[in-house]
Symmetry: C2
Subunit: 343 residues, 2 copies
DNA sequence: TTGTATGCGTTATCAA
DNA sequence: TTGATAACGCATACAA
């Protein structure tokens, strides 16, 4: 266990006082060039690295940037993490993650864990914090970005898109392609999912095509297998359903496989649309239509906004809407002219 | 910004000295029950929470458990994270992640970042650290677990499995099912992947069925699309290949889709085996054979071993081999008796 | 069982 | 431009 090199030792070697070394490191322009070079040499010789705990104690601030997401296994969030990491990996900041498991009280706890470290910044997924969590955030005293979603009443900054509108766009796409009996497949049914469902419903109702009986949902986590099960349940109950908008891509992939198993031609007898546009959607056979959400970019922008604020630069607009675009692919090419030909 | 409540204030309210409060919190059995209850009340009244920085400075130890993984988007690692989180989420420890991007020098840097925080424990993926990183690890001065893989010469503790042997088992399975011209699909080709390839090769050679020309690999990251491309390249070059062992499940999924596109029946004309057994393999059509690796369990065990050591409990064996099992599914049911029937 | 003195490595404040 | 002093909040070592 190597003994730690301290500021005092560097100072002794450079023939200055500790505080001067401290200054030379943090604001080089405030010390004479020649003393600075002596100090730099001493730092290099001794291999000095600052102690983050001591710094945090003295300043009342850490270099931790806390990130709160619901799941570490859902590709949706890991892509956001990649974006964050891309902009923060090389910086002086340490990124620390917390996983809420979609559980509001876990989120409150983790917020507490982060806050007591006096983080330099905070990135939290979503806009559905509990009132208690909201109060904590309001008093966080550091730059804060809510990601994944846009909405009213941001705590501080926000970067995301409207899940409602994105789902509505996907539904419009299905209808435009000629599907007339669209259904909805949903798992987990957390608030974001609910808003997507609302977008689907609003659009279908506007077209006079909404049928509550074609919504097949579960509170269970989503998975490919779950998508298969949901589709089978839906088609068993309502065999004439001619398209499904899926809550996410896992469900869509499962729906595709189940359609294969059931001998239901896609897209001729059933159109399938996913959400998030994971890489596999493009590679599937048939390729699956999905809604592209700019997840990496969301993380990257959030990280940049925080850095800008910490460096006292202009972070730009406090609310950034990155939008979402329907990526039309073969799985929603439209119903076959002669439905029976599909068999 | 709420002013921080300190130990001293709690002490004043409880009518004891700060150190007694400190003790009451950390080792309740060392203080009189009645003073303890007074202290507990004061803590609750004031909403006291310890300052991690101050504690770290005083003890020369933080409560951070550092986790180093190559990628945050690869499901293989996120499952390990889930396991770690499962055992550490409720504890007093803060998990902090670092992403190496499969880059050894990034790994060294991150190790430095962690080490200067004097972490309580460290979990690192793999056994392929650079000599410099290895030296850092040797001097980490905290419990350390290498996960994902077993191998000789552990730094401290280790929990994983033999990628070579797991790949060999998968290859044996293909051969046992009757495939005689097996190929290999590989992406990224990092050291772990190389060892899987070596396992495939060793087993194929042992059966006299190895053909170097049936290995289709790329240094690019793996993806479903990449799997499709690799299969097409392989079948174009060597159309008589009758099975593929894929480096991972993404590639296997892509291979399945590409086989569909090419009109190659699976498993009759082509057997497909993946690696990791992600959930989607079971849900595919046909369901895809894969090698189950116990990723969640690896993370969970690693976390437990570290906690045991920190609590001065017996962590059990320093080297844990969790094995890996072939999950046989329809995609490797064996070649069709009459190959032409497959068309 | 509880308390006193002291130190952890850094930075803020004020003075020189 | 540089330095002396005093925190920051907690825990260790030792004493009572």
């Amino acid at each position: 266990m190597a003994k730690r090199v301290t500021l005092a030792e560097v100072a002794a070697r450079a023939g200055v006082s500790p505080i001067t070394v401290s200054r030379a490191l943090r604001r080089p322009d405030t010390v004479q060039p020649e003393t600075r070079s002596r100090i730099d040499a001493a730092v290099a010789d001794l291999g000095y690295v600052p102690d983050p705990a001591a710094r945090a104690l003295a300043t009342g601030r850490s270099d931790v940037i806390g990130v709160l997401i619901p799941s570490a296994t859902n590709a949706v969030f890991t892509d956001v993490l990649s974006g964050i990491y891309d902009r923060l990996g090389e910086s002086r900041f340490d990124v620390q993650y917390g996983i809420t498991r979609y559980d509001p009280s876990t989120e409150e706890n983790l917020l507490g864990v982060f806050l007591r470290q006096r983080p330099a910044g905070l990135i939290v997924a979503g806009i559905d914090q509990t009132p208690a969590a909201r109060r904590l955030l309001d008093r966080a005293g550091c730059p804060l970005v809510q990601v994944m979603e846009t909405g009213p009443d941001p705590v501080d900054m926000m970067v995301g898109f409207s899940h409602h509108d994105a789902a509505a766009a996907a539904t419009r796409h299905l209808i435009a392609r000629g599907y007339r009996r669209p259904g909805f497949l949903g798992a987990r049914m957390d608030p974001r999912t609910q808003r997507r469902f609302a977008g689907f419903r609003a659009e279908a109702e506007a077209a006079g095509l909404y049928d509550a009986d074609r919504a097949e949902t579960t509170d269970q986590p989503s998975s490919v297998g779950r998508g298969a099960a949901l589709l089978r349940a839906l088609l068993t109950r309502r065999p004439d359903t001619d398209a499904v908008f899926c809550n996410n891509d896992d469900l869509a992939m499962g729906a595709l496989f189940e359609a294969m198993r059931m001998g239901v031609p896609v897209p001729g007898a059933l159109g399938i649309c996913g959400f998030n546009d994971l890489e596999m959607m493009r590679a599937a056979e048939p390729p699956i239509t999905s809604v592209r959400t700019n997840r990496f970019e969301m993380g990257a922008r959030a990280a940049e906004m925080i850095r800008a604020r910490l460096d006292a630069r202009d972070p730009g607009p406090a609310l950034v809407d990155l939008g979402a675009e329907v990526q039309a692919r073969r799985s929603t090419d439209g119903p076959a002219r002669h439905p029976s030909a599909g068999q």
